[in-house]
Symmetry: C2
Subunit: 315 residues, 2 copies
């Protein structure tokens, strides 16, 4: 069986670990979000690809959900001692090595998909991990810096500055994927979708993770041809984790399983797993309530099994 | 008093620490060797400038003589886990931060002299540290890889590969400063020499440290106008530290204080400190025997004092 899953960071990675346990014989291709990627200190950092790679490859910091286990922070402390900005992004020493290798390969002319393959040669995540695109498509957030009552003073900042530095505390007036129009799906993305028996949307952020991947021209239309099962990232009117509500509010969508299902829409979504107690009614989307909290690999695997069963039922 | 000192790595840095103690009120400009600089993992590494900066700034690993005190090696271990080559060059985590800052500034268009000044803003070495040149002039070593009796198979390798990986165990057939002809002294180098009351040549490697700096067009001729005092790096027919003998042999010079004085020559050298028990007779070079082993800052300061006294005497 061929499974394609989109993925953001922590939620996507934990779901995928469950999926591997639920479907050990499946061939799984993961299309990872690269809209959050950022250049810091001259290095190219791909937070979501790395979270998936480290989680599936056994190198993740379990409690934190991102970064490496057993991490130290000598490089970061030294950069701060040099007065280098920004200091709000937390990179550990082990993690730095990944970015050094990636940056060197990109500088030598390899596309991100080839770099990701080379990094995965070490991590052996047990899936084919593809960036959504080899092109630069970067999520920026428009905020208003004016004081109360004064005329608006809008400014676009990198998603990571909004998410990590500001902790999404300043309302986003718009979320824009800069470069989206000119980006092409990375090699292998459309082929994997074409060969997929089922496509899964894990409980990643529907705006800045899944929504970003869907904006790369050609990906959404390819997915619409497939049986697509989504897992709601909203449970009881709040994100399972993270600050998806701030992103949904920015694009005028309520923080409910119903609203996210409408956002994806029946042209994309065939099946939708929601938490017990939630409700979704969208014509053309088959909805099933299930326990959606991923306490551990087994509870994530249960969700993946439910998604695959629903796909089987709908196919 | 204005003092200019050339400098290589460990020996130069330890001498300079003594010089600062011996002449606390002097204005000292150090012209550092950058012929050993190397690009590794996409980062620009300047071993000699860093050794001077860390030693005078209080960050050096004392016993080792290079690298940072309290160093850890997570990045290096991770690069090795990715299979990245070379693995023979030892970079610690703290040290990596310096190279990341340098590489980012160079990439932004700053010349090495400006980058070095920015790094020294943190380290406050108490001297003005200048690279010999902002241009790329790199020491390469010609070796013969043929088996005994077969025709020569010559190959030029980066100095660091010969020095660190091969531990200078393969005879150097030639030592070449690639790019020397087109290199210009870095901003401030010729001005500092012009204003110098005395110029010191510390007991750095006479071939690949001092000899390299002297090859940058314009530097040697400017120094020849000055009172120049050298400290012999050879004591009792052997280098005080390091493998200077392998470098001297490569250029057909004996490993004696006499031969190194002849190599520098009376057009450059006015005074020459040699170890007690050694002898040097070169017309036009005033020679003084002194204890030349730098056990600690005070013994290094004693050597620096002797050099300054000899300069005073000769001026």
């Amino acid at each position: 069986m061929h499974i394609v899953s989109l993925a953001g960071g922590i939620g996507g990675a934990r779901f995928l670990r469950g999926l591997k346990a639920a479907a050990p014989d499946a061939e799984i291709t993961v299309i990872g979000n690269t809209g959050d990627d950022i250049n810091l200190y001259g290095l190219r950092i791909c937070p979501d690809l790395d979270t998936v790679m480290y989680t599936l490859g056994g190198g993740i910091h379990e409690e934190q959900g991102w970064g490496r286990t057993g991490e130290t922070f000598a490089v970061k402390e030294e950069l701060a001692a040099y007065g280098v900005e920004p200091q709000w992004f937390g990179l550990g020493d082990r993690d730095f090595a990944t970015h050094i290798v990636r940056t060197q390969m990109l500088g030598a002319g390899y596309p991100l998909s080839a770099v990701t393959r080379a990094l995965c040669d070490r991590w052996r995540p047990g899936v084919t991990l593809l960036p959504m695109t080899d092109d630069r498509a970067e999520t920026h957030v428009v905020i208003d810096e004016s004081a109360d009552g004064s005329p608006p003073r809008r400014k676009a900042i990198h998603f990571q500055e909004w998410w990590v530095r500001l902790r999404a505390s300043v309302p986003a007036q718009a979320i824009i994927l800069v470069g989206a129009d000119d980006a092409k799906p990375a090699p292998g993305v459309l082929d994997a979708i074409a060969q997929a028996d089922v496509v899964l949307l894990p409980p990643s952020n529907p705006v800045v993770s899944i929504g970003t991947i869907l904006q790369i021209p050609g990906i959404r239309s390819a997915l619409e041809e497939k049986t697509v099962i989504g897992v709601s990232p909203i449970v009881g009117g709040a994100p399972v984790r993270g600050m998806a509500d701030a992103c949904l509010t920015a694009i005028g969508v309520e923080t409910t399983a119903q609203a996210v299902a409408e956002l994806y829409g029946p042209s994309l979504l065939d099946g939708w797993l929601i938490a017990e107690g939630d409700e979704t009614n969208v014509a053309g989307i088959a909805t099933r309530p299930r326990p959606l909290i991923m306490h551990d690999v087994e509870s994530a695997a249960e969700i993946a099994r439910a998604a695959l069963e629903l796909a089987e039922e709908l196919r």
